[in-house]
Amino acid sequence: MKAPLIKSFGFSRTLLAATTALGLFAANAQAADDTIKVGVLHSLSGTMAISETTLKDTVLMMIDEQNKKGGVLGKKLEAVVVDPASNWPLFAEKAAELLEKDKVSVVFGCWTSVSRKSVLPVFEKDNGLLFYPVQYEGEESSKNVFYTGAAPNQQAIPAVDYLMKDLKVKRWVLEGTDYVYPRTTNKILEAYLKAKGVAASDILINYTPFGFSDWQSEVSKIKAFGSAGKKTAVVSTINGDANVPFYKELGNEKISAEDIPVVAFSVGEEELSGVDTKPLLGHLAAWNYFESIKSPANSEFIKTWHTFIKNDKRTTNDPMEATYIGFNLWVKAVKKAGTTDTTKVIATLPGLETANLTGGSAKVLPNHHITKPVYIGEIRDDGQFDIVWQTKAEVAGDAWSDYLPGSKDLEADWVTLKCGNYNTKTKKCVGQTN
C-alpha cells in the first residue's frame, strides 16, 4: 500500500498541482484600461468599523459624483474596497494587495495611528499614494502620504488657547485613551501649558484602555481634582467606544459644562448620534468642520450625502470633510498632471488648493499637510454643535511639533528640501528622501 502512493505523489505531478494552485494567487487582476482604480482601505468589521464604515461610504459617494461629472482624464473611477477588519497587520497586507495586485492609483484609508504606521512601509516601498483623513498626533511626514486631517497644532493647541483665554481655565485634566495619539497630544499640550506658566500640580494626566467602560472612579477623580478652587477643564483624547460611557457618567455625576467643561478631540456628530446628548449640553469639541456650519458647499455636501446613504438622519463629520478635501485634491492633481502616475501626482499636489466645506480653502503644504480652520463647538441637545469660537484664518498643519524636545528641530518639506524629516541643526535629512 505504501510504495505506490509515494510514486503517485511523484514530484512532477506535485509540482504541477502546486503550480496550478499558486496560479490562483498569481492571477493578477490586470487593471482594465478604461478605468482608474481607487483603493478604499477602511475597516468594515471589528472595533473600528463604527468610525471607518462612514468614510468608505464617503469615498464611494465622491467617486459616484465624480463619475457623474465624467470621471477623470476621460476615464471612469472604479472603487476597490477591501476590509482590513480592524486588524493592523491585515492593514499592511491589504495595502500591499491594493498596490501590488489591484494596482490602484490612489488609496483613501486608515483611521487609527497604528493602521497608518502599519501601511506606511508598504506605501513607501511600492511608491503608493495615501490620503489619510483623520486628526492625528503628527510627528510624521511621508512622501507617499497626504494628511488631510488635523495635526495637533490645528486642533489641540487652539482649543487649549480658547479654554485658557475665554474660559479662564487654570487647572487641567488631560484624559486620554492609552495609545499614541493621546500620548503625543498630551505631551505637546503639557509642554505648551507649562510654557504658558501652568504649574505641574495643576495638570493631571490620565490614561485608560481602549473600550474602557467603567468610568466611575475616573470621573470621581476628575471631580475631586476639579474641586480645588480653580477653574478646571478636561481635555479629552478619549477614543471611540469609551466616550459614550464616559459622557454618561459625567452626565449622571452632574458634572456640567459650566463647572468642568470637557473639550474633546475625537467626539463628533457621528459619535454623538449614539448618545443621549441632553446631559452633555455645553461640553466642547474642537474640529476643523462641524455639520452645523452654514455654507453653500456644506449644505450641498449634506444633501448629497443624505441622498447617497438614503437616510436623512445620518450626520456628517470632520473626517468626512477631510476625505472630501483629499479626494478633490487628488482629482485636481491628476487633472493637472494629466496622469495618475503616483510620482507625478505627488509632485503636483503641494501648492494645490481646493475649497473646503466651511467656506475657506484647503491648501496642500510642502510638508504634505494642509491648511485648516479651527472651530470650537458646544454640544447642543440635538447632537449638533454651536460654534463658539473659530480661528481668524486657516492654520497651516505642522508635521513636527515645536513643543516636543525630539522634534522641534525637525522640518518637513518635500518641495525644496525634498525631505520629510530634515534636522535644521545638523542640516541632515533622516529617513526617506525624494
Partner: protein
C-alpha cells in the same frame, strides 16, 4: 538504503505526512522560482505580495501544528496560545527595532522612536542585548518557553483541566494584551513595533529577503512538523494520547501526568514563539492586538477545520481558512464574516474530524 528505518517511518509513515512533505517541498522550490526566476510581465510571475502572504500562512500553519500537538494529542485546549506567538514576535520585533539604528525618524542611535517622543532617557534593561541576532533568537525560544513552563507548572500540578484550563489560558493572554497596551511597559503600546528596516543585514523590503523569510518559514514548518510527529509516534506520544483519553488511568499506572503536560505545553509554546518570530518580519508589525483572545480561538478553529490529531490537518486548515479570509475580505468585504462564521459552524457540526476526516471518509468509501 533501508526504507524501513525508524526515521523513514517517522517521516513518511502515514499518507497525510507524505502529502505534506511533498507539497511543502514543492512550494519551497516553485515559489522562489516563480518570483525571482520569472520576469514580472509573465503570467506565471508570482508577486512579492503573494510570496509574503504565503510566508505568513506558513507561520500560521506552524502555529496550528503546535496547537494541534497539545489539543489533538493531549486534549489541552489552549485558548491563549497566541500569547506565545506574540511573545516570540515581540522578541523578533525588538531585534528588528534595534537594527533600525539611526534611521529612525528622530535619528536616535539607541532608542526606538516611540521612546524618544515619550521622553525615555535610556533603553530599559529588558531591551539590552536585542541588538544581537543570537540573543534575540534565544529570547524567541526562551520567552514563550519560560512563560509556558511557569504557567504549565502551576496549572497542571494543581490539575486545572478542561474548560477551566481553556479559560485561564484566555485570561493569561488577555492580561498580557492589556499589559502590552500600556505605554509604560516600553513595548510601544498600541502601535507596537513597526517600520522595520533590515534583518540580519538584508533590506527587509527586498524581494530576495522576502523569499528568504518565506523559505525560512517553510523550513521551520517542516522541522516543527517533524519534531511534533516524532513526539507523537514515540512512546511518550502514546502516553500523551493516553492522558487525553483517560487521564486518571494514566496516573494510576504510574505516570506523572503533570510533567508530560507541562513539557508538551512548553514545547508547543516554543514552536508558537518561532512562528511568531517569523511572522513579524513578513507582516512588518507586531502590536498587542496579536495577544487578542479572539486570535487564539481562530487558531483553534484552523485546527478544527483541517482536522485535529493529524498534524497535517491543521496545516491544511490554516491555509484554507486564511486563504478564505484573504480572498473574502477583498471580494466580499461586506459579508465575509457571514461566510467565515458559517464555515466554523458547518465544520463543527458536520465535519467533527475536519476536512481531513472528510477526505478520509471519501477515500474509504471508494475502496
Amino acid at each position: 538504503m533501508r526504507t524501513s528505518s525508524p526515521l523513514m517511518t517517522l517521516l513518511f509513515g502515514d499518507f497525510g505526512s507524505r502529502v505534506f512533505y511533498a507539497l511543502l517541498l514543492a512550494m519551497l522550490i516553485v515559489v522562489p522560482l516563480l518570483n525571482l526566476g520569472v520576469t514580472e510581465t509573465s503570467a506565471l510571475h508570482l508577486s512579492t505580495y503573494t510570496v509574503t502572504l504565503l510566508g505568513k500562512y506558513l507561520t500560521y500553519a506552524l502555529m496550528a501544528v503546535a496547537v494541534d500537538l497539545i489539543w489533538g494529542y493531549c486534549g489541552i485546549l489552549s485558548l491563549g496560545h497566541t500569547a506565545f506567538f506574540a511573545l516570540g514576535g515581540y522578541a523578533m520585533g525588538m531585534y528588528l527595532m534595534r537594527q533600525i539604528g539611526t534611521r529612525g525618524v528622530y535619528g536616535d542611535p539607541l532608542l526606538p522612536d516611540f521612546m524618544v517622543f515619550l521622553n525615555w532617557k535610556e533603553l530599559p534593561w529588558y531591551w539590552l542585548g536585542f541588538n544581537h541576532a543570537a540573543f534575540a533568537l534565544l529570547m524567541v525560544l526562551l520567552a514563550p518557553g519560560a512563560l509556558a513552563f511557569c504557567f504549565g507548572w502551576l496549572a497542571f500540578r494543581s490539575r486545572v483541566t478542561g474548560v477551566y484550563l481553556s479559560i485561564i489560558t484566555q485570561a493569561l493572554t488577555y492580561a498580557l494584551m492589556l499589559a502590552f497596551f500600556r505605554n509604560e511597559m516600553g513595548f510601544g503600546g498600541n502601535n507596537g513595533l513597526t517600520d522595520f528596516k533590515e534583518i540580519l543585514g538584508f533590506d527587509i523590503h527586498l524581494a530576495s529577503t522576502r523569499i528568504g523569510l518565506f523559505v525560512a518559514s517553510g523550513i521551520a514548518l517542516g522541522l516543527g512538523y517533524t519534531a511534533c510527529r516524532a513526539i507523537a509516534v514515540s512512546r511518550a506520544g502514546r502516553v500523551v494520547q493516553a492522558i487525553r483519553d483517560a487521564e486518571s488511568r494514566t496516573r494510576f499506572i504510574g505516570y506523572r501526568v503533570e510533567n508530560y503536560k507541562m513539557w508538551l505545553f512548553t514545547f508547543s509554546a516554543v514552536l508558537s514563539g518561532i512562528a511568531g518570530a517569523l511572522y513579524v518580519p513578513q507582516v512588518g508589525i507586531i502590536n498587542p492586538g496579536e495577544f487578542g483572545p479572539i486570535n487564539s480561538i481562530e487558531v483553534v478553529i484552523w485546527v478544527a477545520v483541517g482536522g485535529r490529531n493529524t498534524l497535517y490537518g491543521p496545516v491544511l486548515g490554516a491555509f484554507v481558512v486564511n486563504f478564505a479570509k484573504t480572498y473574502l475580505t477583498a471580494a466580499l468585504p461586506e459579508v465575509w464574516l457571514y461566510a467565515l462564521g458559517a464555515l466554523f459552524v458547518v465544520v463543527t457540526l458536520f465535519l467533527p474530524q475536519g476536512i481531513v476526516g472528510l477526505v478520509k471518509q471519501l477515500l474509504e468509501k471508494r475502496r
